[in-house]
Symmetry: C2
Subunit: 590 residues, 2 copies
Amino acid sequence: MRLSRYFPILDWGRHYTGTALTSDLVAAIIVTIMLIPQSLAYAMLAGLPPVVGLYASILPLVAYALFGTSRTLAVGPVAVVSLMTATAAGAVAATGSADYIAAALILALLSGIFLLVMGLLRLGSLANLLSHPVVSGFITASGIIIATSQLKYILGIEAGGHTMPQLLATLSANIGTINVPTLTIGATSLAFLFWVRKGLKPLLVKLGLADRPADLVAKAGPVFAVVATIVAVVLLDLEAKGVRTVGVIPTGLPPIGAPLFDADLWLALAVPALLISIIGFVESVSIAQTLAAKRRQRIDPDQELVGLGAANVVAGFSGGYPVTGGFARSVVNFDAGAETPAAGAFTAVGIAVAALLLTPFLASLPLATLAATIIVAVLSLVDLRAPIVTWRYSKADFAAMAMTMLGTLVLGVETGVIAGVLLSLALFVWRSSRPHAAVIGRVPNTEHFRNVERHKVITLPHILMIRIDESLTYLNARWLEEYVLEQMADRPELKHLVLMCSAVNEIDASALESLEAINHRLADANIRFHLSEVKGPVMDRLQKSDFLDALTGEIFLSQNGAFAELAGRGDDEGDPLPVDPDPYGPRGLI
Amino acid sequence: MRLSRYFPILDWGRHYTGTALTSDLVAAIIVTIMLIPQSLAYAMLAGLPPVVGLYASILPLVAYALFGTSRTLAVGPVAVVSLMTATAAGAVAATGSADYIAAALILALLSGIFLLVMGLLRLGSLANLLSHPVVSGFITASGIIIATSQLKYILGIEAGGHTMPQLLATLSANIGTINVPTLTIGATSLAFLFWVRKGLKPLLVKLGLADRPADLVAKAGPVFAVVATIVAVVLLDLEAKGVRTVGVIPTGLPPIGAPLFDADLWLALAVPALLISIIGFVESVSIAQTLAAKRRQRIDPDQELVGLGAANVVAGFSGGYPVTGGFARSVVNFDAGAETPAAGAFTAVGIAVAALLLTPFLASLPLATLAATIIVAVLSLVDLRAPIVTWRYSKADFAAMAMTMLGTLVLGVETGVIAGVLLSLALFVWRSSRPHAAVIGRVPNTEHFRNVERHKVITLPHILMIRIDESLTYLNARWLEEYVLEQMADRPELKHLVLMCSAVNEIDASALESLEAINHRLADANIRFHLSEVKGPVMDRLQKSDFLDALTGEIFLSQNGAFAELAGRGDDEGDPLPVDPDPYGPRGLI
């Protein structure tokens, strides 16, 4: 049982049936057809030779099939990770150089190692640092950058860069050198693919095809565009007229070998590899969970880290580049009826066959066609409604999203994500440091206590009751000290202060220190400090400290009990407050 | 009124009386006597000429008197900040060089600017990042380093470094060159000062002196040691026997001038200056609050930033180095009866007079005496019980404390603090990402709902009720998704899931997205999703989103209402679940 946690194949492989085999084979064939142009296109987007895209779609898929827990996730090259690869590799080597390809391999290996380590140490919660607004803003901005970066292939001009200012500057500088045959192919492909997306499925349904098959045929749209434009290039000899094509793709299976070891290079690529692994993981898991829930299946996020990690390590050793679960492919895989991860392994066989047999036919494929498939795909990533919706819901979340989008568009993918993560964290810390608290009083004729500012309640001049609506941690401990002192300063008749702890799930060591300081300072002002409604686990903790011995007041089970008891005592002082053995508290810095 | 917030002197200055003047003058004289040896000693600790300590105790005190809100805080050089100054300046220049002194001035100016900016932007909550265990561990480790660093003066040998490994290595390398006359003076001073601390006050009380005056006389112990050892050096001509002394101190008032502007140097000193300002602020405010509470006074932490900021900027322009509120001096000031910040200004006058008249007499003061005063003072910073107490109370807090102590001792003050802050934050984020949640059921014959694992409660197979004990934020949003899916997966009869939100004070955009995903995935499994006991402000927010429209279930005012209503419906399916317009949710990375 334990072993099958780390090798899910032991689980589903044991019950593998002929029906499942048929379903998986059908799904694999459909995904293979879709993946061939996709893998070439995304390799181009990553600035890599097209064949690298094919290599990244063979052995990594087998590795995921062995270790992944999703029955339907289709792993391979994806658009956003390709952009991140291009940015990271472009920072250390010239695009297309041998060093650049080596950097892509290292990125795959490093991100695979990060994923494996996170998986084995159960550190998947690192992904929590990526808030939804950051991921959403990042993906939208990446989609915009990717679409813009592909315009040069549609127009047949030179351009470069991985940020909007760079892209727009180089595009506008070369806008005069448009190649008309290229633009014709590019624009036609774009128009065709947009039509396929919107119009083909309804047409097929109208022609009598069922909903799902119609969907699958529509998803194969790029294949038609690829075939048609290859034929056009060959027949019209468009290469001689300046149409750039994929060119000769080496035929054969992926080369097996270890990536270059160079400590400086590995160090330079570590941060981008970490970002690639975390972002790839977050999105992949989200897709896998959505699909799994449709069949009431479960995926194990920690084991997903292992599965994706293995896929990337294998990519690094077999001539690929970073891979993760792709949305479009996974949906096709799911809809085509894939039942087990074996579908992924069969897809790998399909791509291997393509790498052995199909590559000669792909040499004349125009880059403009690939660019068109990329543009059509990534425009669905661009969600310009999200910032508006988020602005309406939460200004803080909007700020994180806007920061991520702007940072990504202007400064690049890595800076954008890091800025977004840091801002989210800063805003979270800031909000955690200003909890809600209220002075409360008793609602007449009830045992309920409510905010004095919002309700007509009963209070007494010698009793101050404060409710805090948050756990007490180091981030809000000093805030609480100041709040209590402020409330106390204006009440000369005060004899008792009760802190209602019904919403306090935790009191950390800093907050304990602050409670001690409050107890201390109230005692100096001859005021007793009480707590009420302390939760069981919090009380267990407090009993391990000296706080309860030093506390000048009592712990009341209920707020009502506290009020009744203290009100009954009236202005009576009770026992004298103990003499403080350490009257100056902290030692400071001397 | 508004103006007096930024210039508290307008407030207390208006009501200044003859009685207050007398009290402040008396306190100022006593603090001056204490501050003269202290300022020389701490300047030595910072690796600066003794006169810099005097300069730092003149105009900065006047600036704080104008802008500070504490009536009794005594600002000036302190031990830990002196160590931090030595570390930071030592990293950019050779100790004692002109560049080193310039670096100290820049540190004062920069930390003053940071404090002012934090004060004007009300960013005092930045100090919240320093948890109590981090500050406590840092101060203890600093105390150990400071005491060790002073041993060379007691032994009359050469040694250096700002970390324990460096200090111990250089001390042990030169242990053979001990100077016996120096050691005699050092050891005698140490023994005398320890006795003064423990034995003088009881003796004076026995001789009939009242408690407070006895305390004040005991605090003046270092002055006796200073006078006695100066006399010994002069009479016995100990300088010729190798006893190192303070040497000629220039007579006169502080030089006024702007610190050197050098962009690289400022950049290199920015992080240490930020740490100096935040740590100095945290401790200073804590002392000021403790003393203020004793007289039911209030201090304004944001205005304290301005006061300390002004003091440091002035230190940078008047030949000083970073200053902050000192514990020992402030207590003396308080006990001596200081009533207003004017006492600080009078102390400044006292130090100025000393700088003009007393410096010739201080030339023969042995460094061993100053080192002894430092060691005796800082040993009270070392709190070795704190790690034990913290370990007992919270392992996470202990980890942060241990990391800070080890980092500070082995790698230096800056690394230590930064490591502690980052670990505290990481642990906080980690804990926030794993909130407490429980499957609940109804306690028989009540309207109370409790954890099914701890109580005998009523549940129904088609209703799952989950209580979450934390606000829903991006850090725990994915955790919640997984938790809910996990709970759902094992319950084939499930029709309704109710999330009880009584402890939810906030739902951020990421958590909203997760609630939408949960709603979505439950609907795919034909389960309705309900919420109960949603707080008013949280509900207001939800109404700004589309979530309530998409929600397949209802919002119940009370958990009991939800249970009663859904139990009454039995297995009835109700209206069919709406068809999902967007069946695949997230778009992924394509």
